[in-house]
Amino acid sequence: MRVQTPNGFNLDNSGKRIVVDPLTRIEGHLRVEVNVDSNNVIRNAVSTGTMWRGIETILKGRDPRDAWAFTERICGVCTGTHALTSVRAVEHALGITIPENANSIRNIMQLCLYVHDHLVHFYHLHALDWVDVMSALKADAKATSQLAQSVSPWPLSSPSYFKQLQMRLIKFVESGQLGPFKNGYWGHPAYKLPPEANLIAVAHYLEALDFQKEIAKIQAVYGGKNPHPNWLVGGVPCPINVDGTGAVGAINMERLNLVSSIIDRSIEFVEQVYLPDLVMIASFYKDWLYGGGLSGKSVMSYGDIPEHANDYSEKSLMLPRGVILNGNLNDVLPIDHGDPEQIQEFVVHSWYKYPDETRGLHPWQGITEPNFQLGADTKGTKTDIKELDEGAKYSWIKAPRWRGHAVEVGPLARYVMGYAQGRAEFKEPIDKFLKPLHLPFTALFSALGRTAARALECQWAAHQMSYFQDKLVAHIKAGGTSTANIEKWSRESWPRKAKGYGFTEAPRGALGHWIKIKDCKIDNYQCVVPTTWNGWPRDLKGNIGAFEASLIDTPMADPEKPLEILRTIHSFDPCLACSTHVMSPDGQELVTVKVR
């Protein structure tokens, strides 16, 4: 059957059906089904979250000051961002302000998450969609060294360095132990890097693995531990005592200097390893510009990183805020999280129950009641689904909308927004990236563009981290050591009823929490997370989601080896534990592919 969706995509589900399950490399399960035509071009896509998240139900009746600790554990990857969103929601509901130092420390922790998450995503979750490890075995060490030195001053680039790594890799492959490199589609025709570039990428995969633990230390210094650092309604649970006597574990000069030195090394790593690798990969893949989907049409960013404490206005937020619809970059629309007409979630194709499913609900009115039922055209059984029926309910992810519109969120959305607003800190790096590749701005609307935006943002975040660290140190030196405001800590100071929202930009996109408090307890709590915005199923009008849209019209070299699907979906950095919760434990293999 052929249809055109209201958001402008042509679907045809008559061809061969391919099922890829599960798709995320870590944390959670996403399943994608596509139909390909006789030329193996994707003509229909169905994405489904196969797990149910019940955190909203768990939070009901609990102390709102504890909510951050529960929501933070939705995910072990974007660790901290849910907690930050949660404390902001509670502070908004109860009218609590935070000190300037707390704002700086929160920003450093959030930016640190960006640097860590983007780096780890690129090298450990996404690189193998672009990099063929087996091809690296054929690389010439001397040529590899020359290539590496031509793109970066990074010192680990001698012929012997690459030779030794290659020897270890060969030993590995010969012994049949592929470890982190198992389950690849090695030799797939969609891989385009020469052996030398592949060997560089493998070396940096390992170096990044080694370096990421340093970045995480920043979160441990300010948050007490990583993953899942500690947070506090009213500030940060992080006393400052530069004299280094008195309170045990307080932040002193030695800790501050440690953080500053890690930030400097992070900037160096991102600029000398990550960015040159991105440019190198892009130069070989600049003709593979599939995977854009919704990004060229409608994107949204809530904005984040307030320059000034307690000021969440567009002016104060260093990451851009707004909505772009139908590709109109000249008109960035404002967002109001409290307006019941703006952000709404629909469940007509989701395994949830609303009293009236023709209408969306604003998160303050949100309901999380599971309703697992399969459509008449489903093949298989409830416990062993062979093929989903996208005409009925088919996902544990709800369908969120902004004024009824489907939007994409994430690094690309943020950079498109910054570009549209003409902000130099976003526009210039994009132009600098595209120019030597001779690519137009519209080339960004692709899986490669999403991957590029993430790398550029990683560099931006590393520098902003440095900015807020300097600001914090200067403020402390001027005598400001307050990190928490406990005026309204006691419940007696709260109104009987209150409601609020908090928002952040998680590394993978716009994140919002909405809370209603009654008699000092949580009455309702709703999280609308980035992978919900990107991974949602169809809505009432038949619009398809960002994941689904991104796959349409992509040619596949071999439907049995869906590398192209993985590459595009991974470019969103999907995090399904966050969108949904565990339902099916059958994740024995990284990817199972079934062609029907």
Binding site: G76, R168, F172, D210, K213
Partner: protein, 203 residues
Amino acid sequence: MNSAAKGKAPVSSIETTKRILVLGVGNVLWADEGFGVRAVDEFYCRYSVPGNVTVVDGGTRGLYLLSYIEETDCLIVFDAIEYSLKPGQLRLLRNEEVPRFTGAKKMSLHQTGLQDVLSAADLLGRFPREMALIGCQPLNLEDWCGPLTSPVRAQIGPAIDLACQLLKQWGSEAQLRRVPLRNSGNLPADVDHATSERKARRG
């Protein structure tokens, strides 16, 4: 959780003292998949260790455990293993016997597991000289949020005894605590039905 390893050895003895890591991995949300974590927690509650020994609850951290592994000379790992043994049967695997695929079933939230960490450490050229895996065959992995089953729970004591023997062989004997640690807070977000989850439900 980091043990007494924080108390640093004198500088002169650093080169001669083996750095030992006692690691428990697994997912406590999947019943017997949590064996490794439960075992290492119980070990830490019962025993104190010398300064060169670090005790770590590795949970489902996957590749992020690399920093611990690569700094280790001798490694002991508690984990659930799929060896088609009788449920609750223990097996000690040494050095090359430690398989690429540990973890009874690849369903921990992080799909990268111990084998990925070990191979990454190997590729980086920083691999433990000696390695021992204390594995237990699970009975039930499907009981979402359930506790360990009794045959597996019964092996925690014997598994800890094996670890103590290894530490002794490596010249770093664990000492039985006079008073075992209880409610040490090592698993503050514990979902073991016997403790916190029931408390929360009573409200």
